[in-house]
Symmetry: C2
Subunit: 225 residues, 2 copies
C-alpha cells in the first residue's frame, strides 16, 4: 500500500514539489479514510507524510481544500477505472457485468480510496457532499442511461427517466453496500462478489429462488489483470 514509513525524526530530505504533493495526498487519503474528516488532524497527516505541518499548508492549503482535493483525485481514479472496464459495444447485461467487475476490482485494490469516498465524504455536510454527490450522480446517470438504452427495444412501457434514475440509485447503493460487506468478508475474490450482485439485480430473487442463474454469455477474452 504505497509504503509510507518516513517516521525518521530528523529533517526530511529535500524533494521537488510534485513528489512531495503526491506523498502528502497519499498520506491524507490514508488518514482521512481511517479517522474521518473531523477526527483527522493535520498534525497526523503531516506526520504520516513524513513532513511538518507548514509544508502541508504551503502545498495543499487548508484542511478543507486538502480533503476536497483528495475526493476529487480518488473519485476521478475510480470513475476512470470503471469507464475503462465497461465494454460499450456489448449488450446491456454484459455492459452491466463488466462495469460491476471493474467497480469491485477498484474497491478491492483501493480500500482507503473507497472509505474516503463512500463514508467520510458523504457524511460531511459541507461542500464535500457536493463534490461527492456529483460523482455519485455521474455514476447513477451512467447506469440510468444504460437502463434506458436497454429498455429501448423491448416492450417495457418506457417509464421515464425518473424510474430509471431511482432504479440506478438502488443499484449503485447495492454496490456500495456490498462493497462494505466485502471489506468485512475479504476472503472472496472480486469476481464472485460482482457475480452475486449481477445475479441479484439482473435475475432478481424471484428467479434465483427457482434456481435460474445469470452467467456471462461466453468467455470471449480471458482478461489477465
Amino acid at each position: 500500500m504505497h509504503a509510507e514509513q518516513p517516521v525518521s525524526t530528523g529533517r526530511a530530505k529535500r524533494l521537488p514539489r510534485a513528489v512531495r504533493e503526491r506523498q502528502i495526498m497519499d498520506a491524507a487519503v490514508d488518514v482521512f479514510s481511517r479517522l474521518g474528516f473531523h477526527a483527522a488532524s493535520m498534525d497526523e497527516i503531516s506526520e504520516v507524510a513524513g513532513i511538518s505541518k507548514p509544508m502541508l499548508y504551503a502545498y495543499l492549503g487548508s484542511k478543507e481544500e486538502l480533503f476536497a482535493t483528495c475526493i476529487r483525485r480518488e473519485s476521478t481514479r475510480m470513475m476512470e477505472a470503471i469507464a475503462n472496464g465497461v465494454e460499450a459495444d456489448q449488450p446491456p447485461d454484459v455492459q452491466l457485468w463488466s462495469g460491476l467487475r471493474a467497480f469491485f476490482g477498484f474497491v478491492g485494490e483501493n480500500r482507503s480510496s473507497w472509505q474516503v469516498l463512500h463514508r467520510q465524504a458523504s457524511s460531511q455536510g459541507g461542500p464535500f457532499a457536493q463534490e461527492l454527490s456529483d460523482m455519485r450522480g455521474r455514476a447513477i446517470s451512467l447506469v440510468a442511461a444504460l437502463l434506458v438504452h436497454s429498455a429501448d427495444f423491448p416492450n417495457v412501457p418506457r417509464a421515464g427517466d425518473k424510474e430509471a434514475e431511482a432504479l440506478a440509485a438502488a443499484l449503485v447503493g447495492a454496490g456500495e453496500s456490498l462493497a462494505d460487506w466485502w471489506l468485512d468478508n475479504p476472503e472472496e475474490p472480486a469476481g464472485v462478489v460482482a457475480a452475486r450482485l449481477m445475479n441479484l439485480v439482473w435475475m432478481g430473487f424471484g428467479d434465483l429462488v427457482e434456481g435460474n442463474i445469470w452467467h456471462p454469455p461466453s468467455r470471449r477474452v480471458p482478461e489477465g489483470d
Copy 2:
C-alpha cells in the same frame, strides 16, 4: 417535526426528568443528524433542547454516551416499525414487500433518525459502529433468514448462509441508498419507492426490461395508516 423552539433566553421551566430527557434526545438526534457526531457540539444540543449544558451532562452523561443512546433509541424504533410491518404468515415475496413498505414508511416519517443511523453512526470508528453494525446485522440476518426460508422448498442449490448474507447485504444497501435518493426526490409516496425496489430485487432488470412487473398478489386488507 416535534416542534422544538424553546429559544427563550431566560430560565427554563421546571419539568420532570423523564420529559426533559425526551426533549434532549429529540434535540440530540436533530443536531447529530445535521452535523455529524464530531461537528455537533454539546452547547448546540443543549441550546436546541432549550436547557443548559450541565443539565445535559447530569441526565445523559458524556457526549459519547448520548450519541450511543440516540443510536439505540432510533434503531430500536426502526426495527420495531419493520417487525410490526412484516406479515410473517405470508409467502416470501409478500413478506419482503411488507417489510419494504414498513421501512420506507419509517424513513419518510423519521428523516433525522435515518440520517443519524445511516450516515453518522456508520462513519464513526468507535463503539458506535458496533452498535450500528449490530442493528445492520440484525436487519441483514432477518432478510437472510427470509431468503434461506424461501429457498427451502424449490430446487435452488442451497448455496449456504454466506450466499444469503451477501445478497441480504446488497438488498439492505439498496434500500439505504434508495432511501437517500428519496430524500432528494421527496415528491413520491413511500409506496411507489418501495414498489420500485421490490421490482428490482424480486424481478430483476432482466424481467423488467421485458416488461414483467411484480405486483401485490391481492389486496387482502386495506391498511389505513
